[in-house]
């Protein structure tokens, strides 16, 4: 009897979860749909034929998934979006609009190049984390300055981070064309980072793992993951057991992985740019989720974002909170820039005309995902697919690839004002007025 009741409860609970998930997903899905519809109308008007619309969107899908290496290129483009989206989401959660992720991305890239060039000869197990740390620190510093100014003087972060963007662009140009310029290259670009600082492409993994130090690094990473998973699944497990499992995982990874990947490895295409950054991105999403929902710091951030006055009465140090939030947000953006240099750019350096636009796209992405780390991974995949498919679309249909930005702008519009979507689709307003925390605050 009680068994039956529990079963029914579980079933209705499952159905409620499903319904809730669908409910949460419906608005972003509608926004995407309307965005693409708007894009189609614009293509139709400017080109004068419906066939162009079809050709463009077919090219987009082909380019994103079905052309040679299309899918892996989508994952490559997705990686920085995950980091930048997470950075923006952390800011939004704490009531800060870090519109300067683009600049922090550049500073991260510069710092990474510097750290990658300055210490030749270090083994990858030290150098790679060092370079990523440098990129994160650069981004954190670049975002920390506006955070500090906001905390001390109240200067609004939208204006200051925007200004920091332009300073970062000039700084990047300066660094590329003078201090770090590669004197041997005809193109204006920085020196190449040390091979040990590169992010490994997936096809390189067998040869990289042949080096025992690299294998050790991977084993440590696996052990860390095992530790987190064990603690998550069995929070009260005894210390000896946890230690045993972690040690065993690490040891097995260290001994078994190198010969295993030599015998069988999925990736053997040397022109495939897919790199381990995508794994880092997924890890980052998990870490940010944990930070936001399972730590005191994250709780404080969300409290400050939801209601600064309540947070102040509760004794939360708002100034410190603003600075820390901005720094974390900037660090994530900096890592995105680092990954772009270490894993994606062909020269493993920073060229002069390095324009990303990732940062501004990510604003729409973070809001589309409602600042939810899982949603950001999904949204980043869509954004990466659009960015990657845009070139083939332009080639096939003659429609400029900037239509992607237009579509993303429309998506942002519909996400920002769900009332517009409801109005356009003649939907009823939700019965319960959802008391959502405001995303941004005015100058006051």
């Amino acid at each position: 009897m009680s068994n039956l009741a529990a079963e029914r409860a579980a079933r209705t609970d499952g159905r409620a979860t499903l319904l809730r998930t669908l409910d949460v997903l419906s608005m972003p899905a509608l926004a995407m749909f309307l965005g693409f519809l708007g894009g189609a109308i614009i293509i139709w008007i400017t080109s004068g034929s419906l066939e162009t619309v079809g050709a463009a969107y077919a090219g987009l899908i082909n380019g994103a998934f079905f052309k040679q290496r299309g899918f892996s290129e989508t994952l490559v483009a997705m990686t920085p979006y995950v980091f930048l989206g997470l950075g923006l989401a952390i800011g939004f959660k704490a009531g800060l609009f870090n519109i300067g992720v683009e600049g922090q991305f550049y500073i991260g890239a510069i710092s990474a190049v510097w750290a990658g060039v300055a210490f030749p000869g270090l083994p990858a197990i030290i150098h790679l984390p060092l370079v990523i740390l440098a990129g994160a620190l650069g981004g954190a510093l670049w975002a920390g300055i506006p955070g500090f100014l906001k905390a001390r003087t109240g200067a609004h972060e939208v204006i200051t981070t925007m200004m920091m963007n332009y300073i970062a662009f000039r700084l990047a140009e300066f660094v590329v064309s003078l201090p770090l310029r590669d004197p041997l290259s005809t193109a204006v670009q920085t020196l190449r980072v040390s091979p040990n600082a590169e992010l490994w492409s997936l096809w390189q993994i067998p040869e990289r793992l042949a080096d025992p130090l690299n294998a050790l690094g991977v084993a440590l990473f696996c052990a860390l993951c095992a530790f987190v998973i064990v603690r998550w699944l069995a929070p009260h497990a005894r210390r000896v057991v946890v230690g045993g499992i972690v040690f065993a995982t690490g040891a097995i990874a260290f001994i078994a992985l190198p010969p295993l990947v030599k015998v069988w490895w999925l990736f053997d295409d040397q022109y495939d740019r897919l790199h381990i950054g995508i794994i880092l991105a997924l890890v980052a999403a998990a870490v940010v989720w944990w930070l936001m929902y399972k730590t005191t710091l994250g709780f404080e951030m969300r409290t400050v974002g939801a209601n600064p006055n309540a947070a102040r009465y509760a004794g939360i140090n708002i100034s410190r909170n603003i600075i820390v939030t901005m720094a974390i947000s900037g660090a994530l953006a900096g890592i995105a820039g680092t990954i772009e240099v270490l894993g994606v750019s062909i020269c493993r350096c920073l060229p002069l005309f390095f324009s990303s636009g990732y940062g501004f796209d990510s604003i729409a992405l973070a809001l589309l995902a409602k600042n939810n780390p899982i949603g950001i991974v999904g949204g980043a995949f869509l954004w990466g697919a659009m960015r990657n498919g845009a070139d083939l679309m332009e080639l096939n249909s003659g429609v400029s690839k900037y239509i992607i930005s237009l579509i993303q702008g429309l998506v942002l519009l519909f996400v920002a004002a769900p009332a517009v979507v409801r109005y356009l689709l003649r939907m009823r307003a939700p019965s319960k007025t959802e008391a959502e925390a405001p995303l941004t605050r005015g100058w006051g």
Partner: protein, 365 residues
Amino acid sequence: MAVLANKQRAIKISSRQILNAVFIGIGAVAVFLVFDAIIGGKCDSKCVIGTLNQAIRYAAPVALAAYCGLMCERAAVINIGIEGMMLTAAMVGYGVNVYAFTWLKAGGMDPALAGDASRWLSLLLAIAASGLMALLHGVVSIRFKADQIISGTVINILALGITGYFYRQYLAQDIPPGPGTFAPFDIPLLAQIPILGPIVFQGQKPIVYFMMIVTLLIHYVLFFTPWGLRTRAVGENPRAADTLGINVFRVRYINVLLGGALAGFAGAWFTLEAVDVFNPQMTNGLGFIGLAAMIFGNWSPFGALAGALIFGLGNTITTTISIFRPDIPSQIPQMLPYVLTILVLTGFVGRAIPPAADGQPYEKQ
């Protein structure tokens, strides 16, 4: 009665304002000395006048952007989409200028006349385009009550997409020769005033002169007309304004549209006055700098103009340093205006008081 009180407030100059002016004066002299030292003591009186003249030219788009923000925010609509409105206007201005000119010339019009006609037409359409973006911002933030800063970001990102799309589709290659920018001219009588004339009233182009007129106009409208009073009431306490029978939504819409038109002038400045090309990065954050100037000026037109002039001076000095000292990497002075903006903003923001209802959507009861 209230009008009278406001008139007094608008005219009265406090001792702090005098102090501020003195500080700014001392700062200006110091800046000049440093600047002169950097370029090697080559700045004579003619160079000073030329620099100031140039500073006003560069200040125009920033000031107009600031007035756009001012009009919107006095009615409590935050507008960070100015940058996007300007970019759209700049693109429309350039595109219409080039294609209208070609079209008119092909129709057998005299080239000089066709040039004039297409320039004014493109100015008009640039303003209309910017106004359309402003209308979108207004509808989203007033009618649909979205977060206004996000709504402004929507404008910025949409503008990036729109300008990028049309630029790549129509304006990147095979462009017919255009009629060029507006010609500079002097204001007849005022240009003869000894020092002021050459600095302010000589050799500027129409939008710069328009900026000067509109400064006075906004000050007058905002502080001396019923419309200005209504605007400020809506910005400070919309509920009270509504109770008195003011249509809050209408006031906000009209102010946002006026602001959009001003941003249109600011955008047209880039392609119809400054240079005869368009590129999608050309506004370079000037819309945001305009917002900083607005905050610096405590939401008043003359204050905003002062902020814009500081920026214009910074920009001019930057350009001059790049010309005289090619050994300094040009990127370093180019950072200067942005650093300046941050400094000015952090120095003044705490003391500036935004309209009380700024950023809050109005719910009619």
